[in-house]
């Protein structure tokens, strides 16, 4: 009796009920309980207290849990569980059916739809992007082509404006008595040669008419040089080339205030200080 009381007061029975003892210690308590009815009674009292304590602090689990658990229960040997679906296999191996299975499935289904929608959207976006890209390329090429056209037109317009101005100058010449039109004729060097020089006596302008140019084409090593004869002395009026693709009608030369005659010699490229007399190809008096 004294042994039993001391045993009770040691606190081991509480630990027994709380599952805190080793298997060895549990057996010892169970042996003592079998031996001393007051120990057994004490254990029951502790158990009841703990049971009530748990009841007082109970929390009701979610309502669906009962159904899930009861569905999982099958009497041993009476029936074998139906073959589990693959999705449930892993959880059933550990003996637990995930409670939120249904929730996960619907979530997964939603996510699948979302994924499919995303993929479709991505595809559409890709196609739209590709198409936009192609169209952009076309547009770019068109812009480049239009720019080139525009530049060509601008060049043409510039050219036309320039030539128009020059033609206007020529057209105005007869009305201005100061403009002298000097026709140069070929010499012994080339009797066929001929050209026209416009000279404005008061404005001192000297211009050559490309359209009336009758000189043979010069090569790269040589250029024609225009001279003014002032009181018998040649004055350099600059060099010029004769070629087919000149964009100007009028060639502006150096200015001169007075001249008796004009002459052209073929000189080395860049011109000479004094005319090479045997290379004089054309001359004409004012």
């Amino acid at each position: 009796m004294e042994e039993g009381k001391a045993y009770i007061e040691s606190g081991i029975l509480e630990l027994y009920v709380l599952g805190e003892l080793t298997t060895q210690e549990q057996r010892e308590v169970e042996a003592m309980a079998a031996k001393y009815p007051e120990i057994k009674k004490e254990i029951s009292a502790i158990e009841l207290a703990m049971e009530n304590y748990a009841l007082e602090n109970a929390i009701t689990p979610s309502a669906e849990l009962e159904r899930i658990i009861l569905e999982k229960i099958t009497p041993k040997g009476k029936e074998t569980p139906v073959a589990p679906t693959t999705a449930l296999l892993a959880s059933q191996q550990s003996g637990v059916l995930p409670i939120h299975q249904a929730g996960y499935e619907s979530k997964i289904r939603t996510l699948k739809f979302a994924l499919a929608a995303c993929a479709a959207l991505l595809l559409i976006t890709g196609i739209a992007l590709y198409s936009a890209h192609t169209e952009l390329d076309t547009a770019k090429n068109q812009i480049i082509a239009l720019n080139q056209d525009k530049q060509r037109f601008a060049t043409t317009v510039n050219y036309l404006e320039g030539t128009n101005k020059e033609l206007q100058t020529i057209a105005d010449m007869p009305a201005d008595p100061d403009w002298k039109i000097v026709r140069l004729a070929g010499t012994e060097m080339d009797p066929e040669a001929k050209m026209t020089v416009y000279w404005h006596t008061s404005g001192r302008h000297v211009m050559l008419d490309n359209t009336k140019m009758g000189l043979p084409k010069n090569d790269d090593a040589h250029q024609y040089q225009l001279w003014a004869l002032v009181k018998g002395k040649p004055v350099d009026l600059g060099v010029f080339d004769v070629n087919a693709d000149s964009s100007h009608i009028l060639l502006k030369m150096k200015e001169i205030a007075g001249a008796d005659a004009f002459a052209v010699t073929l000189e080395k490229r860049g011109g000479s200080a004094a005319p090479t007399m045997d290379q004089m190809i054309a001359k004409g008096g004012v």
Binding site: L15, G19, S44, E47, N57, I59, P61, P75
Partner: protein, 183 residues
């Protein structure tokens, strides 16, 4: 199935039916004890979904191990509660659960758990009911650490920096007080 009617049986009837693998016994068992067991599990493992998984595991184990329950060794609830506590504590200490809980040490889990309660549950539901008792809180605290928070009494002694004997005494005092309270 009469899901809306709570079944209540005496413990003897229940044990017999359970051992006979009567599914009605499980229904009764669930109706009578699920909330009590869930209260214990929920305070050890605070995540509701995990706690419900453990409750499910607990009932399956009760069902499958009914044959091993020995009436002479104690009350049915004590047996069931220890199954639930062991499963919950195993889960709490399992590697994946610790990782999920951001590697909280078991010692620190109490604070972590306490912090979690506020968000996971209504504080009125989760908080332990204040006992109408003359006992100082440090006595009930030791019991609550072991009963509701998954500590072993050895760990509780280490955590509180108390001799093992003192912890045992306090647990006994607290349970004595509970017995008075419920009588």
């Amino acid at each position: 199935m009469t899901t809306n009617n709570k079944i209540s049986l005496t413990e003897e009837q229940l044990v017999l039916a359970l051992k006979a693998q009567d599914t009605n016994a499980m229904k009764a068992l669930y109706d009578m004890y699920s909330a009590s067991l869930f209260g214990v599990i929920s305070r050890i493992v605070v995540h509701t979904e995990v706690a419900e998984d453990i409750l499910q595991e607990t009932f399956l184990k009760i069902w499958n191990s009914a044959g091993t329950y020995d009436v002479s060794k104690g009350r049915l609830f004590t047996w069931m509660m220890n199954i639930a506590r062991n499963l919950a504590i195993d889960k709490l200490r399992s590697k994946d659960f610790k990782n999920a809980s951001k590697n909280q040490d078991i010692e620190n889990n109490v604070d972590f758990v306490d912090a979690q309660k506020e968000t996971t549950f209504n504080a009125d539901v989760i908080g332990l009911k204040d006992m109408v008792t003359a006992l100082k809180p440090e006595f009930t605290n030791v019991l609550d650490m072991v009963y509701f928070k998954g500590y072993t009494h050895v760990e509780a002694a280490e955590e509180l920096d108390l001799p093992l004997g003192t912890v045992k005494t306090r647990i006994r005092m607290a349970i004595m007080e509970l017995r008075k309270h419920f009588n």
